[in-house]
């Protein structure tokens, strides 16, 4: 995956967030405070403005810049989480302008670990982690099986989609949805959903 594809990914993801602003907000309305789409869109609108100014940078620098923008404009729970994801991802691929399958795995895993540490979340807490973790695991398995980038990512995406749907079965233990107790069961998690969109855009940009 080269710099251009990384930029395409970010561009696509930002656009996807814009298109799904209402949808993500409605998901958050059911079990949270009805702002996940609004929060994400605030950050990714900024990113869309910023992207043209960072096209000539390496992948690490691009992801770092993305991280800073998201951290300083999303707020809420998703701001630090997506911000940390991109921050850690950027460190894993510093100075690079091309990523092979292993680099991609390192990048995703670094981001994943960032989310876990920042959010103090566990699997099954009904958060974005419940999509990110199985997706990265599936990607790793595919890479171990020597799958090419596109195929490996396709497998990750299949896992991510199922995992996203499965969050509906979980009772939230982190974030605003947790205050609902059992009432959070039956609703798909908004952060998990935006995280799936991020991975989908990544796949589509390859």
């Amino acid at each position: 995956m080269n710099t251009e594809q990384i930029l395409r990914w970010l561009q696509r993801f930002a656009t996807k967030i814009e298109q799904n602003k209402e949808y993500l907000t409605e998901l958050d309305a059911a079990i949270g405070d009805a702002d996940h789409g609004i929060n994400m869109e605030r950050g990714f609108k900024k990113l869309l403005i910023q992207l043209p100014t960072i096209t000539n940078k390496d992948i690490g620098s691009i992801l770092k810049a993305v991280s800073m923008t998201l951290i300083s404009s999303i707020g809420g729970a998703s701001g630090p989480l997506y911000g940390t994801f991109f921050l850690r991802a950027s460190s894993a691929v510093a100075d690079r302008s091309e990523l092979d399958e292993q680099d991609m795995l390192d990048m995703l895993r670094a981001g994943l670990n960032g989310v876990i540490e920042r959010g103090k979340t566990q699997l099954g807490d009904k958060t974005m982690l419940d999509v990110l973790f199985p997706a990265v695991t599936a990607f790793e398995k595919a890479v171990d099986e020597r799958k090419q980038m596109r195929d490996a990512m396709a497998q990750a995406l299949v896992a991510a989609e199922q995992a996203m749907k499965d969050t509906a079965l979980m009772q939230a233990k982190k974030g605003r949805a947790s205050y609902l107790g059992e009432r959070s069961i039956g609703h798909q998690d908004p952060g998990a959903t935006s995280c799936y969109l991020m991975l989908k855009c990544l796949y589509e940009s390859l």
């Binding site: 309305a29 929060n39 300083s72 707020g75 998703s78 630090p80 605003r176 205050y179």
Partner: protein
């Protein structure tokens, strides 16, 4: 739901601009990143107290910036935590070198953003500490990230603000703030939902005679839905939930300023007991007239008296709100002599002014 607003996107900015225009003798507002700070900050040798959180809870926090209370406040979008860059910029603007305390309400978003800000401020060479407020007894902490920060926040900001004004050291203010948190408990009810301006439909739906017991300040649910009851019964329910809450133990993360890392520390709120001297805080959620809050206070005072708990200070009004939500919350804070003295100390902010 009708509101006195222009474009919903401009709500927070315009409201802050109105504040800045109204209180130019006390505060200044910085935009991009957004924070409100005392006109006279940094004050040489004084520990700086900074708080922040989503907007929609006014007058908290911006209304508490000024002499004897906060040095700066960081407002986020409505019900959305502010961002680390706001918190860092605020710290840089008001730190005199004596250090900064972030007072943080226990919500995922606030905690994560303030933790990032703490790390950033530390890396910029600021002596920074991070104290959590988690006082909402309505929350079942077994399946959440613990109790939410509500009414005790207001009281902690007043008391710690006074301490900082008197020249307490960073560590002493932090210890005091932790002690206030460990001495306070709250619970609230909603008679109606709030409506977030960007959405313009109610956050939750209540039947014509239904209320939400244990409501959070963002409209999060608490313990249960039930039919409206007479005020006296509602007050009893809230007061007893607080007064009969047993010891509350949990582990929170605090910042180790010397080694630049987080550490876990166990905190325990002891239950209230006969003979305690307390501050009783009856808070309106934004849409409740003060006449009703006095009806609440009347019953609360009776309950406390019957249990041998002595209300030595009180606060009645809408200080930590949820937009135009109707309802109230009760916070009881066990006081000691030092806290009483600091509560009574002079304060001069857009919302509060006494002794000067």
């Amino acid at each position: 739901m009708k509101k006195l607003i222009n474009n919903p996107e401009d709500f927070v900015r315009e409201s802050l601009e109105g504040m800045a225009a109204a209180h130019a003798d006390l505060i200044k507002i910085n935009f991009d990143p957004t924070f409100i700070h005392r006109l006279d900050a940094p004050k040489s040798g004084k520990v700086a107290i900074i708080s922040g959180g989503g907007s929609g809870h006014e007058p908290m926090h911006a209304g508490f910036v000024g002499m004897g209370m906060l040095d700066a406040a960081c407002p986020g979008q409505i019900f959305t935590s502010p961002t680390p860059d706001q918190m860092l910029a605020a710290a840089q603007a008001v730190d005199s070198g004596a250090g900064v305390i972030y007072i943080v309400k226990n919500y995922s978003g606030d905690v994560m953003n303030f933790e990032m800000a703490t790390e950033l401020a530390y890396s910029e060479g600021i002596r920074v500490l991070n104290i959590l407020i988690d006082d909402d007894v309505a929350v079942r902490d077994i399946y959440t990230q613990g109790r939410r920060g509500v009414g005790t926040t207001v009281l902690a900001e007043k008391i710690c603000g006074a301490a900082a004004e008197r020249g307490y050291s960073l560590q002493k203010v932090a210890d005091l703030c932790r002690r206030v948190n460990l001495s306070g408990r709250s619970m609230g009810i909603a008679l109606s939902s709030c409506t977030v301006p960007m959405r313009m439909s109610p956050t939750f739906a209540l039947g014509a005679d239904e209320i939400e017991v244990g409501i959070g300040i963002h409209g999060e649910p608490g313990r249960k839905r039930m039919d409206l009851m007479p005020a006296n019964e509602l007050v009893s329910m809230l007061a007893l939930s607080i007064l009969e809450d047993s010891a509350y133990t949990r582990v929170v993360r605090e910042w180790d300023m010397d080694n630049g890392k987080w550490f876990d520390c166990e905190l325990i709120n002891q239950p209230f007991q006969r003979g305690d001297r307390i501050l009783a805080f009856v808070n309106g959620m934004g849409g409740t007239p003060i006449s009703e809050l006095y009806i609440v206070y009347r019953k609360l005072a009776e309950i406390c008296q019957n249990r041998g708990i002595q209300i030595v200070r009180n606060l009645i009004g809408s200080y930590i709100t949820s937009l135009e939500m109707q309802g109230c919350s009760i916070t009881l804070l066990k006081l000691d002599d030092e806290m009483i003295e600091l509560w009574d100390a002079p304060v001069k902010t857009p919302t509060w002014r006494w002794g000067v």
